[in-house]
């Protein structure tokens, strides 16, 4: 019996908690992608770099606050700097919309044109971020490291295996829940949110109903900037901030949005967790678990794929979904 509990604790510690954390980050990222797709009708490849940009501004804000001696106690100071990062990412998004996307929107450019434009902007923002903060690793986490560590857990339960909960993991999951709840409240309960859904559902009828398209676009970019910064900062706090890793995040984020049903906010969230759990479950070493639940101690790691292939998992899921169910779990619009 204890063996089974120990096995479950191993799974919880190395699979459940990390996947919930990573899934929350992906879900917030995918929510931004799906909003742009639903309202502006294109796949925004610059989203990963927008996340990096917002995170960079948050890091500057964090450093500023730290140098002034401000801290959030046990919580990371970066949470206090988030509004600044959000403001930065929103300003950048609005600037790029005004100077680049608006021109193509007025010419009624095809979604493919928008996609290529967003790839261009992805390189532009990525270059800007690396130019300003440098390509290296930045660790901007401070505050208490663990809410409870593996050792505390073992002492409290008397089990052989420990379950740790890092502050960044708890902060990520709680923030994601709050942000998603606020987002759904906004989209389903407020007049402005409903007008965004109406615009996404049927643009012509929305115009006929007197919904102002410029305002919908403005609000979309504000939400996207905020979501990107929150997702990026949580990811950076949990792992570390490295500009190139945000470009690589683009694939799992798009996979999340598409698996859930692109254009559907609920799908983005479900997709984020599906991708995160799959990535971690497939690359997890089950050796200890097997040893606990059976009498046999495997010599190998009992790992389906090396962690280096993590990114391949989301790619494979993406391909399978596009072949088998192109509209995704929650039937978004097909790409």
């Amino acid at each position: 019996m204890t063996d089974i509990i120990n096995a479950l604790v191993v799974l919880a510690n190395f699979l459940l908690v990390p996947a919930l954390t990573y899934g929350s980050q992906l879900a917030l990222g995918a929510l931004g992608v799906t909003l742009v797709y639903g309202v502006l009708r294109f796949s925004n490849f610059a989203h990963g770099e927008t996340m990096a940009f917002g995170t960079m501004i948050t890091i500057f804000g964090t450093w500023g606050l730290q140098s002034m001696g401000v801290s959030a106690g046990p919580l990371p100071t970066a949470l206090l700097a988030l509004p600044l990062g959000i403001a930065g990412a929103v300003a950048l998004s609005l600037l790029l919309d005004k100077t680049v996307y608006k021109y193509h929107r007025q010419r009624k450019a095809s979604p493919v044109t928008f996609l290529i434009v967003s790839i261009g902007l992805m390189f532009f923002i990525g270059g800007l971020v690396r130019f300003v903060i440098g390509p290296g690793d930045q660790i901007f986490f401070d505050g208490t490291r663990f809410i409870f560590s593996a050792r505390d857990f073992k002492k409290a339960t008397g089990l052989d295996e420990g379950l740790a909960l890092k502050m960044t993991q708890a902060v990520t999951i709680i923030t994601a829940i709050l942000v998603v709840a606020a987002m759904f409240w906004f989209l389903n309960k407020t007049r402005t949110g409903k007008s965004m859904r109406a615009f996404s559902d049927n643009e012509n009828l929305a115009l006929l109903s007197g919904i102002n398209p410029d305002r919908v676009v403005l609000i979309t970019w504000i939400l996207v900037g905020a979501l990107a910064t929150i997702a990026g900062s949580l990811y950076g706090l949990d792992k570390s901030f490295k500009p190139f890793s945000y470009m690589q995040l683009l694939l799992p984020i798009f996979a999340s949005a598409i698996v859930g049903g692109v254009g559907n906010p609920l799908g983005a969230i479900a997709g984020g967790y599906v991708i995160a759990f799959s990535e971690i479950a497939v690359t997890f070493a089950y050796k200890k678990v097997v040893a606990y639940v059976t009498t046999y101690e495997p010599e190998s790691l009992v790992q389906l794929l090396g962690t280096d292939y993590k990114i391949a998992v989301s790619f494979i899921i993406l391909v399978i979904v596009l072949i088998v169910r192109p509209t995704g779990i929650f039937s978004g619009k097909t790409l």
């Binding site: 409903k194 859904r197 049927n202 009828l205 115009l207 006929l208 007197g210």
Partner: protein, 234 residues
């Protein structure tokens, strides 16, 4: 002078003209129906009065005011309502949200108007929490008409409101449309079911190749042997 009138309209979506010197008008509390063969420019003529295509010649007057150069959204503010033939509801939104979106330009309390639409279409009250995309064709058309009514338009333009619904539902929809007209709304509609539509029409326009062929009361058009032979199948 009609309440809403598009006079001597000539124009089209691109460089080629679809309408040729076409005149369409409707009075308050009246139902005017545009009929004609496929490709006669029926929908185009109605859309022209709503500002959805460029007129090279002619003008549109609403309540005596020249609105030829107003955009469709601006005409909604003036008191016109338009129900497109297809894609006329927000499929992912509930019936009630569809009505709320119809009243988007209003800043006052809309609960009375919603109640009014539910009185007119009782089935919608039952289904108010359901996404409009899950309703039947006839119910969807009711949502579409209800959405347009939310701004209390003085003129309601309907593009083939009975397309794709069963004959029973069609009669029911026509009854509702008559009811709306009795409230003092001017109704201009395009219809495929020419005979049934002319039966409820105060005024009928038969268009052929973008031009007026016959204009008369609905009754007179139904009695006219030329119209019967050419357009109503004898």
């Amino acid at each position: 002078m009609s309440f809403l009138i598009g006079e001597n309209m000539t124009g089209g979506y691109g460089s080629a003209d679809i309408l040729h010197n076409c005149t369409i008008g409707v009075e308050k509390g009246e139902i005017a129906v545009i009929v004609g063969p496929n490709g006669a420019g029926k929908s185009t003529a109605m859309k022209a009065t709503f500002g959805m295509l460029n007129l090279r010649e002619g003008h549109v007057k609403f309540n005596g005011e020249d609105i030829t150069h107003l955009k469709p959204e601006e005409r909604v503010l003036k008191g016109m309502g338009f129900v497109p033939q297809t894609h006329n509801v927000f499929t992912s939104m509930s019936v009630e949200e569809n009505l709320e979106m119809g009243a988007f330009i209003r800043t006052d309390d809309i609960s009375d108007s919603i109640a009014q639409v539910y009185d007119l279409f009782p089935i919608l009250k039952e289904k108010r929490k359901q996404p409009a995309g899950q309703l039947s064709g006839g119910q969807r058309q009711q949502v579409a008409v209800g959405r347009a009514l939310m701004t209390h338009p003085q003129v309601l333009l309907l593009d083939e409101p009975t397309a794709g619904v069963s004959p029973i539902v069609m009669d029911e929809l026509f009854d509702r449309i008559i009811e709306i007209a009795r409230m003092g709304v001017a109704i201009l509609m395009v219809e495929q079911n020419a005979k049934q539509a002319l039966e409820i029409a105060d005024k009928g326009y038969v268009l052929v190749q973008g031009a007026n062929r016959f204009t008369d009361t609905g009754e007179a058009l139904l009695a006219n042997p030329d119209v019967r032979r050419s357009f109503l199948g004898g």
